[in-house]
């Protein structure tokens, strides 16, 4: 299926969860903010929330330091 991730179309497996996508992209789920179809997804829901055809995702990655 196709999703839009940070403005770019991506081909991904059906029934992909947010957690699996984040890990596949080499990102740490704990340091990424995930917005799916305009709503913030809480980290507790990453493992169960599945993406569907046309899902629009925004991933904002943070690095430590301050």
């Amino acid at each position: 299926m196709k999703i839009i991730c940070n403005g770019k179309e991506m081909d991904v497996k059906d029934s992909l969860t947010i957690e699996k996508l984040v890990v596949d992209l080499d990102l740490n789920p704990a340091t990424v903010v995930v917005e799916c179809n305009g709503s913030i997804v809480l980290p507790d829901n990453y493992a169960e929330q599945q993406l569907s055809e046309g899902s629009v995702l925004e991933l904002i990655r943070f690095v430590g330091g301050g």
Partner: protein, 265 residues
């Protein structure tokens, strides 16, 4: 009409700032017009706002607050004086953000941190050796009071969580995310895009080491939500946090906060 040290003064053509000083503030040796220092022979225009200062003179308490803002552009002080800013984390980002906002005269600051000052903070944070061991909230409040005593400073000495942030900072005009850890940076942004949606927010990510200064920028990611930094340079072994680059990011944050308060962003 002129405004001279906040008092109205009659204008006439060709009037030099030194002519006004001779009557309004004899002995003045620093002349600031519309927020900018000028020479004594500077010719004033109708409507100008002047501050005349005798260097080294200890001003009265009444004069001091006005003089602190002499270098501001006109119109800035009244707006920021009424504003409140929350600062989450008082380290290399939060402490210089607070100092900059105190200098500019933001009237109410809500400072939050759970930690105490320790020696490894002093390479970049706005504390002093004699404050080692003090709570950062108290040490910073004290330091800000020495810079600008006309501010209302509240402190919260707790470990902030994603659950506690919305209620604690619901009342501020702008929220500054100045955490060290990436997990709390992400949590703070979730608050800004979720329960605090609509709140002005300025976060930061990526300012370690001594990479190019100009990689650090301010990005608008949503309406009223901004992120500062290069997004990449992580604090890790071999790439520490140091005053220059963390300070650049902090001052990006402070300037973006000022822009939001002045409604230019």
């Amino acid at each position: 009409m002129l405004l001279v040290n906040e008092i109205t003064y009659e204008f006439r053509d060709g009037l030099r700032v030194v002519d006004v000083a001779a009557k309004a503030k004899p002995g003045a040796d620093l002349f600031i017009v519309n927020g900018h220092p000028v020479s004594s022979s500077f010719i004033l225009e109708d409507g100008d706002s002047c501050w005349l200062i005798r260097k080294g003179e200890q001003p009265t308490a009444d004069e001091l607050e006005r003089l602190l803002y002499a270098r501001h552009s006109p119109g800035v002080h009244d707006k920021v004086k009424k504003a409140s800013v929350g600062i989450m984390g008082l380290g290399g980002l939060g402490s210089p953000v607070a100092v900059a906002l105190a200098r500019v005269g933001v009237g109410h600051l809500l400072l939050a941190d759970f930690d105490v000052v320790e020696p490894s903070n002093l390479n970049r944070q706005q504390y002093f050796i004699d404050q080692i061991g003090e709570k950062k909230t108290q040490a910073l409040k004290y330091n800000l009071g020495r810079i600008n005593p006309y501010l209302r400073i509240e402190t919260v000495n707790v470990v902030l969580t994603e659950e506690s942030i919305p209620a604690l900072f619901n009342g501020v005009d702008v929220l500054a995310e100045c955490f060290d850890g990436a997990e709390m940076k992400a949590a703070a942004l979730r608050c800004a895009l979720g329960p605090l949606k609509g709140k002005c927010f300025v976060g930061a990510s990526g300012m370690a080491g001594f990479a190019d200064s100009n990689m650090i920028c301010t990005r608008k990611i949503r309406d009223r939500v901004y992120l500062v930094g290069d997004g990449e340079t992580e604090a890790r072994p071999g790439q520490g946090l140091m005053a220059p680059r963390v300070g650049i990011a902090a001052h990006h944050q402070a300037n973006q906060i000022l822009r939001l308060l002045l409604e230019v962003a």
